[in-house]
Symmetry: C2
Subunit: 358 residues, 2 copies
Amino acid sequence: MATPKYELVKTYLKDFIQDAGLKYGDIMPTENELMKMFDVSRHTIRRALSDLINQGWLYTMQGSGTYVADPNADMNLTGKMVGVITTYFKDYIFPEILSGIDDIVSEEGYSVLLGTTKNNSARERVILNNMLNNQLAGLIVEPTKSVYPNKNIELYEAFMNRGIPVVFIHANYRGLVTSYVIEDDVHAGYIATKHLLDLGHRKIIGIFKQDDMQGHGRYQGFISAHEDAQIPVEESLVKWYATEERDGFINEERLKYWLDAGGGVTGFVCYNDEVAYDVMRCFRGMNIHVPRDYSIVSFDNSKLAETLETKMTTVAHHKEVLGEKAATMLLELMKDPTAIKEEVMIPELIIRDTTRRI
Amino acid sequence: MATPKYELVKTYLKDFIQDAGLKYGDIMPTENELMKMFDVSRHTIRRALSDLINQGWLYTMQGSGTYVADPNADMNLTGKMVGVITTYFKDYIFPEILSGIDDIVSEEGYSVLLGTTKNNSARERVILNNMLNNQLAGLIVEPTKSVYPNKNIELYEAFMNRGIPVVFIHANYRGLVTSYVIEDDVHAGYIATKHLLDLGHRKIIGIFKQDDMQGHGRYQGFISAHEDAQIPVEESLVKWYATEERDGFINEERLKYWLDAGGGVTGFVCYNDEVAYDVMRCFRGMNIHVPRDYSIVSFDNSKLAETLETKMTTVAHHKEVLGEKAATMLLELMKDPTAIKEEVMIPELIIRDTTRRI
DNA sequence: TTGTACGATTTATACGTACAAATTAGAGGT
DNA sequence: ACCTCTAATTTGTACGTATAAATCGTACAA
C-alpha cells in the first residue's frame, strides 16, 4: 500500500480546514460521517484524528464532537521570539543597535534570540540552521563578510518560504527581495572627505577596511569628494586592511613611513573611530599634535569619539535608531508580508576638535 | 473505569525505563510480551505505545522493535537555547559579559535568548514568564534592583522545579540554592580605598550607588579599609545616588560644594569609571588637575579607563571571564543538577595615572 | 568465508464489534 | 416559560482478527 488510508484522511481534513477557512472552535464532521465519506473503518478515522490532535490541528470533546484547534495556541506556548544575527556584539556599535531592536520588539512581547557569526560563514550557517529549528517570528541580520558572495542565501530563502520575515541591516543580498535598512556609506565618506577638502587639505590619507561593504562605500565617497573638488586622488595614499590585520595595523613605524612617502600629507580619513584612536595614540607617542599637525576625520561617533580630551570630528551613525527602524520594519512585515521597505539612513557630520583649517 | 488500562501500561513503561536505567537505543519488550504481561489486547498496548512515542519517550522500527528515545532528541528539534537576563546591556560592561557567555555556550551549540529588565521588576516578570514558555536549557540572570527583596523568586523556582538550571551573576537570592558567580565587591572597595590611604591620603570622598548590592559592598570595603588603617570615616564625605539621579548628579557646583565642605579632601573613590569620568570632566572645566590636585580611584576597568589621556587607576572587573564562568557553571548544571558551585571573583587593582602619593 | 534465501519475529495498517461516558436535543410535564 | 427526564448522538475504551511490510537470525550453498 503506497500511502496508508489514514494519511489520505489526514490530508483531506487539513485541506478541508484551510479551504473552508475554518477557525478556532469550528466543528468538524463526526467520525460516523467520515467513515461513510471514505468508506473506511472507524479505527482508520480515529487514527487520522489522533495524529491531527497530536499535531495541534484538532481537539475533541467526548459526547460533543471534534473541533478545530487554535493554530496559535502552541505559538503562545512556545513564546514569541525574534532572531538577531550580528558579526560581533562586543564591538562598540552593536550593543546600541541591539538595544534599539530590543526596545521595539520587547514592547510587542517578543524576546531577542542572539547569534554572533564572528564574520565566519560557517558559523553563520550553524546559527541559521539552529534558528530555523526555533519557531521564530522574524529575523534581523547583519550579514557576514558582505563584499564576498554569501553561501547561505538559500537558508535565508528557507526562512522567507516559511513565512518568517527577514530584515537586513548594513547590507542587502542581491536576489533576496525583502526589507533592509542601510546607511549611505558613500555619502558618509563623501562628507567626511569634503570637510577636510573645504578646510584646505589637499593630500589626505584614507584608511579603509577591505572586506565589508561599508569600507568600500566610504572609499567611494572619498573618491567622489576629490573628483567634485577637482583634486586628483593619489592611489598610494589609500590604505586597505582586512579584519584579521586589525590589531597592530596602525603603528608608529608604518605611520612614519606613510607620512614620509606621502609628502605633504595634512589629513586622515579613518575607517572608524577605533582606527582614528589608534592613529592619535601613536601620534601622541611621536609627539605629533592633532589637529595642529594633522587633521583627522573618522566614522561612527562612538563613545570613544566624545570621551577623549580632543574630541573627534566624526560622521555619526544613528546606531540605536538603526536598530529601532529594523525592528519596526520587521514588525510591519509580520503583519503584512508585502510591506517591503528599503530605508537609507543619511549620516551626519559632527565637527569637533580633530580637524582645523590650514 | 477509573483509570484506563492503557494508562496503567504507560505508567509501567515509564517507570520501567527509569528504574531499569534504560538509555537511548535500549530495546523495550515486544507488543506480544506486553499483551501477555498485562493480559490486554494488542490494541491497548499499541495505544499506550503510541502515546509514549508522541511524548518523545520511545520510537519504533518496523520489524525490529520498540526502543527508548533520546530525551534530548526533541530539544535538538526545537533548537537549544540558553536564556540570559540582564538589567541593561547597552551599558559598558554587559556586552563583554554577554560576549563571554556566548563564546562558551555557542561552542556547545546553544543560542542566547536575551532579556533586558531595565532594572524593573515588572519587566523582569514578563520576561521570565515569556522564557518559561520557551523550552530553555538553562538561564543566567543578573537580578534586578538587588538590594530590595525580589518578588519574582517563585518564578525562578518554577524554572528549577522544571529541571532548568539557573545561574546568578553579581548577586544571589537568599533561599534559592543554585550556582552563582559574584565579585567580591567588599574587597574591591577595600583595595581601592587602601591604595589611596597607603599613598598618604586621609580625607577621601566616597561616591556610591545606593540601589544595588555592588554599591553597598564597595562602601563596606571603603569603611573597612579606613578602620584597618585606624583612620576615622567622616560620614559627610560619603555620597549616595540612585540610578535615576545618575545623569547630572556630578556637576561643577556640587563638586565645589563637596570640596569646600569637606575641608582638606585629597582623594575620591568613585562607584565606577563613568562617575570618575564625570568628575574628571568637571575638574577640567574647573581647571583642577588630576592627579596633581586630587587622586581618583574607580571601579570596572572599562574601555573608558584606558582610553583617556590620563588613564584611570581602577579596580578591574573580569567581565568577559565572569560571563565565561557563569556559562561554564550552567553547562555543568545541565549535565549534573547537583553540581552547585559558588564562585567569588577576586578583583585586582590596576594602578595608572589618576593617583599619586602626597 | 561470504553471500543468499527463507522462515520467524515484530511492527504497521485495517477491518469489525461491543460497551462506556459525556453531551445534546427533544419530548413531556409542571 | 421553565424544568426534567430520556433517547439519540458522539467520542472513549477495549476486545478480536487479518494481512502487509520490515527486520533478523539461521540454514544452506558457493
